[in-house]
C-alpha cells in the first residue's frame, strides 16, 4: 500500500485542504469500525503515539491512537491556517508541518514564487523530507492551490518545482482552482499564466477547477433541497453538505460547500488505491492511461452523485442515470463542453456495488454520442472499487482528457494579453528580484504552444479516418 502527501498552499488551497481532511476522516470512520489502524488509513494518515507528547513514535499497526494527516500547510499569511488550528481539526495536523508568514503575497505571483520561494526553500525541503520519511512507500503528492492569487499560485508552483527536483519518482497531481472572468483580483491573468508554465512543465496531472461550476452545483443542490423534490432529499450526513445545516450553509460559509466538492473529488480519485475492488485503479495508472503526450495532462473531472438518493437499493435504471449524469455539464467541475470536443482518453472510477456488466452496458450506451480521437477509439480506463462513499450506495468519478479545455486556456490567454499589451501592473512584477520580461514572454509562449497542441488534435476531428498501413511481412 502506498502513501500520499497533501501540500496545501495559500488561502484557497488550505480551505479546500481543510475540507478534504474532514471528509477523509469521516469516510474512514464510517468504513473502519474497529478502530484499527489499517493500510487504507495509512495512505493519508500517520498513527502517532501521543501519550508522551506530540513527538511520539509512529505506530504501524494496532489500535488507532492519534491520527496525523500527511500534509504540509503553507500560507504566507496566518489567518487561514490559524483558523484551522483552532478549529475541530487542530489535532489532525502536526504543528511542525506548517509554514506561515505574516504579510501575504499581495496577489503577486512573483512575490510568492521568487521572494518567498527563495526564503523558505530550505524550510520547505526539510519538512517535505520529514513527511516522506514517515512514509513506507510514497507514491504521490497532491498539491491544492488557486491560480489567480500570489501564494497559492506563485509559492505553490515553486513547491511543484521543488517536488520534481527532490522527489522525481513521486507523482505530482495538482488540483488548481482557475479564476473566473469576473475575478476581483485584477492581476489574476498574470498570476495564472505564469503558474500555467510551471504546471505545463512540472506536473504529472492537473485537475482544473472553476469556481463558477462549483457555485452552480451548490446552487442546484440548494434548490433541490428547498423545493423538496421527491426522491432527492439530501441526507444530513452526506459528504456533500458540510457539518453545518444546508440552509445556513450558503450564508455563513459559502465556500465550504464548494470546497467539499473538490475534497470529494480527491477522495474518490484515491478510493481505489485505498480500498479493495474487483478492478483496481491506482494513481500511477491514472497518469499512465490519461496522459498520451507529456504536456497534455489537464483532466476535466465530473462527479456524481452530488446529492444523495433516498433509497439504498437502487434498481439498475438509477444506476444508468448516474453514468449519464457524469457526462452532463451540470456535474463538471469546470465550464467546458467535452461532448462537442475531442476525447483523447476517459477514465471512469466507480464505487459501490457496481459490476463490470453495468460498466460495459453504460459505456456502450454513451459511446456513440462522444467523439474520440482516431487513434484511441476505445479510450476508456475503468476501475471498480467495492467501498461506496459515505451516505451513498455508489458513485462515479469521470476524468476526461478532452480538447474542451482549450477555450478555457484561450480565454486565459486573452485576458493576459489585454493587460500585458497595456503593460498594466507590470512594474509590480518586474521590480521583484529575479523577474524579467522574459518570464512573461516565456510563460505566454508556453501557453500558446499548449493551445496549439490541442488545435492540432482538434483538426483531426471529424475528418476521414485513414488507418496507417500495417507492416508487410514477406510470406
Amino acid at each position: 500500500m502506498t502513501q500520499s502527501v497533501v501540500v496545501q498552499v495559500g488561502q484557497c488551497g488550505n480551505q479546500v485542504g481543510c475540507r478534504f481532511w474532514d471528509l477523509a476522516l469521516r469516510e474512514h470512520a464510517a468504513v473502519n469500525k474497529k478502530g484499527i489502524y489499517d493500510e487504507a488509513l495509512s495512505s493519508f494518515f500517520r498513527n502517532v503515539d501521543t501519550r508522551s507528547g506530540d513527538n511520539g513514535p509512529d505506530i504501524d499497526k494496532g489500535k488507532i491512537c492519534s491520527l496525523k494527516a500527511r500534509a504540509l500547510l503553507i500560507d504566507m499569511e496566518e489567518g487561514v491556517v490559524n483558523e484551522i488550528l483552532q478549529g475541530p481539526l487542530r489535532d489532525v495536523f502536526d504543528s511542525k508541518q506548517l509554514i506561515t508568514d505574516v504579510s501575504g503575497s499581495g496577489n503577486n505571483w512573483a512575490v510568492g514564487h521568487k521572494i518567498y520561494g527563495c526564503q523558505y526553500r530550505e524550510n520547505i525541503v526539510e519538512k517535505l523530507r520529514k513527511t516522506a520519511e514517515h512514509c513506507d512507500c510514497l507514491q504521490c503528492f497532491f498539491i491544492i492551490h488557486s491560480m489567480g492569487g500570489g501564494t497559492g499560485s506563485g509559492l505553490g508552483t515553486f513547491v511543484l518545482n521543488l517536488l520534481e527536483e527532490e522527489f522525481p519518482e513521486v507523482y505530482r497531481f495538482v488540483t488548481s482552482v482557475y479564476p473566473s472572468g469576473e475575478d476581483d483580483v485584477i492581476t489574476s491573468p498574470y498570476n495564472s499564466v505564469l503558474a500555467m508554465k510551471e504546471l505545463n512543465e512540472h506536473a504529472d496531472c492537473v485537475l482544473p477547477i472553476e469556481n463558477e461550476s462549483l457555485f452552480e452545483i451548490v446552487n442546484k443542490i440548494h434548490q433541490m433541497v428547498n423545493s423538496g423534490k421527491l426522491g432527492s432529499t439530501v441526507k444530513p450526513n452526506s459528504l456533500v453538505t458540510s457539518s453545518a445545516g444546508s440552509a445556513k450553509m450558503l450564508q455563513e460559509k459559502p465556500f465550504d460547500a464548494m470546497n467539499n466538492i473538490v475534497a470529494n473529488l480527491l477522495l474518490n480519485l484515491t478510493s481505489s488505491a485505498r480500498f479493495e475492488g474487483s478492478l483496481n485503479m491506482d494513481l500511477n495508472e491514472i497518469s499512465m492511461n490519461l496522459v498520451p503526450f507529456p504536456r497534455l495532462h489537464y483532466l476535466v473531472s465530473s462527479l456524481t452523485p452530488l446529492y444523495t438518493l433516498a433509497d439504498v437499493n437502487v434498481p439498475s435504471r438509477r444506476l444508468d442515470q448516474m453514468f449519464s449524469d457524469a457526462f452532463s455539464r451540470d456535474h463538471q467541475l469546470i465550464q467546458a463542453d467535452p461532448k462537442h470536443s475531442l476525447y483523447l482518453a476517459c477514465a471512469l472510477l466507480v464505487r459501490g456495488n457496481v459490476q463490470v456488466s453495468d460498466l460495459r452496458r453504460n459505456i456502450e450506451r454513451l459511446k456513440p454520442s462522444l467523439h474520440f480521437v482516431s487513434w484511441n477509439q476505445e479510450g476508456w480506463k475503468t476501475g471498480l472499487c467495492s467501498v461506496p462513499p459515505v451516505g451513498h450506495s455508489h458513485s462515479l468519478l469521470a476524468l476526461a482528457n478532452n480538447t474542451c479545455v482549450k477555450p478555457t486556456f484561450i480565454e486565459l490567454k486573452d485576458r493576459f494579453m489585454k493587460l500585458y499589451k497595456k503593460k498594466a501592473h507590470l512594474h509590480h512584477y518586474l521590480q521583484i528580484d529575479g523577474m524579467e520580461k522574459s518570464c512573461f514572454s516565456e510563460a505566454i509562449s508556453s501557453l500558446s504552444d499548449l493551445i496549439e497542441e490541442y488545435n492540432e488534435l482538434d483538426a483531426t476531428k471529424g475528418g476521414p479516418r485513414i488507418d496507417p498501413s500495417r507492416l508487410k511481412i514477406a510470406v
Binding site: M1, T2, E39, D136, C137, Q139, E276, S278, L279, N280, D282, N284, E285, S287, M288, N289, L290, V291, P292, F293, P294, S316, L344, A345, Q355, V356, S357, D358, R360, I363, E364, K367, S374, W375, N376, Q377, E378, G379, W380, K381, T382, L384, D467, P468, R470, L471, K472, I473, V475
Partner: protein, 450 residues
C-alpha cells in the same frame, strides 16, 4: 506429475483462486456414474497434480502468488483459507507496495529484474516440493502492467531456469472496449515476448466469457467473479485428470507434455483456443440432459465456424470439399482451419462416443496425418456436476481475428506516438515496439495462410 501454477497480477490471482476452488469442489463433488475406484484414482491424481499435502491436513495449492501491490494477494489468501477446504502455502507469495501502473515497461524492465531472485526462489521451492515436476502454468492478463510485463519477464526466467520443463501461459484478453487505455500496447508487447519463451499460450477472451455469462448462464449483473468462475470451469475441464488414448490404465502422468505433443507440432503456431460445452446455469443442471452425438455435433460446428459458444452457431459454414487440391486462398470464407485439435470428454458413457467427425482431413492443414492432428482424452468421471462435458482445445485460426484486431489498434495508436513517452521512460524504445509488431504480424501471416 505435479504442475506449479504462477498467478501474476490482479487478474492472475483472482482467476487462480477460482481455479483451485473449482478443482477442490470438483473432487469433493459427485463422481457421476464411474466406479468408486475410478473416483479415488481421479481424486488422488488431481491432488498430486495441483495440491501438496500439509501437516494440517488442509491441502495447499502448488502455487506462487505474485503481485506488485498487496490488496489482491491478501484478499486471495484469506478467501482460500476461509473456505476450510484448501489454502495457499503461507510463504508462497511475493508482493510489493506500489503496483505497475498498467505500464508493461515498468513490469518488465523495472520490477522484473529487481525482484527476479525473490520470485524465482519461491518458484524453486514449490518445484522442489514436487516428486516429479510436470511443468509450469502461469495465469495472467495482458492488458495491465504486472501480469503482462512482469509475467513476460517471469516466463523468460522460468525458461532459463527450467529449460526442459513445459511452460503453458494462460492469457486473458481484455474486453475490446477498454479496461485499460494502453491495453493494446501491453498486449502486443506481452504476446510477442511470450512467443519467445513459452511452449503454448492458452487464451480466454473476456468478451467471449461475458457473452457466455449473459446468454447461457443467464446472469443479470455480471461481475468479474462470474467471469472468473466460468474460466475456472473451462480450465478445470482441461486439466482435471483424464486417460489419454495410448496411456494404459492409469490417469495421464504428464498432462502438459501430452497437451504440447498433441497440439503444438510447430513453434510458429502456439496460440490455443478453448471451448467447453455444455454451459448452463447451475440451477438448470439437474433438469438438463444432453446426448453425446448432439454435443459432438455442436462442438465440431463450433470449431468449423469459429463459434464462441453453443448458441448462435453458423451451420452454413462447411469445410472445403475433399479431393480438390485447394490453395488456401480459395478456402471457403469463415471456415476455421485447424492445425491440431484435442477433445476431452468427461462423464457418462464416454468410451462409446464416436469422434470420427473430428478426424475429417478437410478440417486440417495438410502437414499432419489426420490421426496425428486429432487426439482425444476421456474419463468416465463426471466433472463439476455435469453428467456429460466436452472440451475442445484447438490450435487453429480461432484467435486470428482477435489478434489481428489488437495489433491493428495498437499500430494505429503507435503511428500517432501516443503514450510512448510512458514506455520510453522505463526503457522500452520505439525499436522494441517495432520488433514486437513484426513478430506478431509474422504470426498473423502464418495463421492466415494455413
Amino acid at each position: 506429475m505435479s504442475i506449479v501454477t504462477v498467478q501474476l497480477g490482479q487478474c492472475g490471482n483472482q482467476i487462480g483462486h477460482e481455479v483451485f476452488s473449482a478443482f477442490c469442489s470438483d473432487i469433493r463433488g459427485t463422481h457421476g456414474l464411474c466406479s468408486k475406484k475410478e473416483n479415488e484414482s481421479y481424486q488422488d491424481s488431481c491432488k498430486e497434480r495441483f495440491f501438496c499435502e500439509e501437516e494440517s491436513g488442509v491441502p495447499a495449492a502448488r502455487a506462487v502468488l505474485v503481485d506488485m501491490e498487496p490488496k489482491v494477494i491478501s484478499q486471495t489468501l484469506s478467501m482460500a483459507a476461509s473456505s476450510g477446504l484448501w489454502k495457499y502455502n503461507s510463504h508462497s507469495h511475493f508482493c510489493q507496495k506500489q503496483g505497475s501502473g498498467n505500464n508493461w515497461a515498468n513490469g518488465y524492465s523495472v520490477h522484473g529484474p529487481r525482484h527476479k531472485e525473490a520470485i524465482m526462489n519461491l518458484v524453486q521451492k514449490e518445484a522442489e516440493k514436487c516428486d516429479r515436476l510436470g511443468g509450469f502454468f502461469t495465469i495472467m492478463s495482458m492488458a495491465g502492467g504486472t501480469g503482462s510485463g512482469l509475467g513476460a519477464f517471469v516466463t523468460q526466467c522460468l525458461r532459463d531456469a527450467f529449460p526442459t520443463s513445459f511452460i503453458l501461459n494462460h492469457v486473458i484478453w481484455p474486453y475490446g472496449t477498454g479496461e485499460v487505455i494502453v491495453q493494446n500496447y501491453n498486449s502486443v508487447l506481452t504476446l510477442s515476448h511470450l512467443y519467445q519463451s513459452s511452449d503454448a499460450l492458452l487464451v480466454h477472451e473476456n468478451d467471449v466469457i461475458h457473452k457466455i455469462c449473459a446468454q447461457l448462464m443467464n446472469i443479470k449483473q455480471i461481475s468479474f467473479r462470474d467471469v472468473n468462475q466460468v474460466i475456472a470451469h473451462q480450465l478445470g475441464s482441461v486439466f482435471q485428470p483424464t486417460h489419454t488414448a495410448g496411456g494404459g490404465s492409469g490417469y495421464s502422468r504428464n498432462p502438459l507434455g501430452d497437451l504440447m505433443e498433441a497440439l503444438v507440432p510447430h513453434p510458429e503456431f502456439r496460440m490455443l483456443g478453448l471451448r467447453n460445452i455444455p454451459q448452463v446455469p447451475e440451477t438448470s443442471l439437474p433438469y438438463s440432459t444432453f446426448s453425446w452425438p448432439g454435443l459432438i455435433k455442436h462442438l465440431r460446428q463450433m470449431l468449423i465456424a469459429n463459434a464462441q459458444m453453443e448458441e448462435g452457431i453458423d451451420w452454413q459454414v462447411r469445410p472445403p470439399q475433399p479431393g480438390s487440391s485447394m490453395p488456401s486462398t480459395n478456402k471457403p470464407l469463415h471456415f476455421n482451419t485447424s492445425i491440431a485439435n484435442l477433445v476431452i470428454l468427461r462423464g457418462k458413457d464416454v468410451h462409446s462416443v464416436d469422434l470420427g467427425s473430428f478426424q475429417d482431413p478437410s478440417l486440417y492443414t495438410s502437414w499432419l496425418n489426420p490421426q496425428d492432428a486429432f487426439n482425444a482424452w476421456r474419463t468416465p468421471r463426471a466433472f463439476n456436476k455435469y453428467e456429460k462435458s466436452a472440451s475442445l482445445v484447438s490450435n487453429s485460426q480461432f484467435l486470428l481475428k482477435p489478434l489481428d484486431s489488437i495489433v491493428g489498434k495498437a499500430w494505429n495508436m503507435f503511428a500517432s506516438k501516443a503514450y510512448l513517452h510512458q514506455y520510453t521512460k522505463f526503457g522500452i524504445q520505439e525499436e522494441d515496439f517495432l520488433d514486437c509488431f513484426t513478430t506478431l504480424e509474422q504470426v498473423i501471416s502464418s495463421y492466415t495462410n494455413l
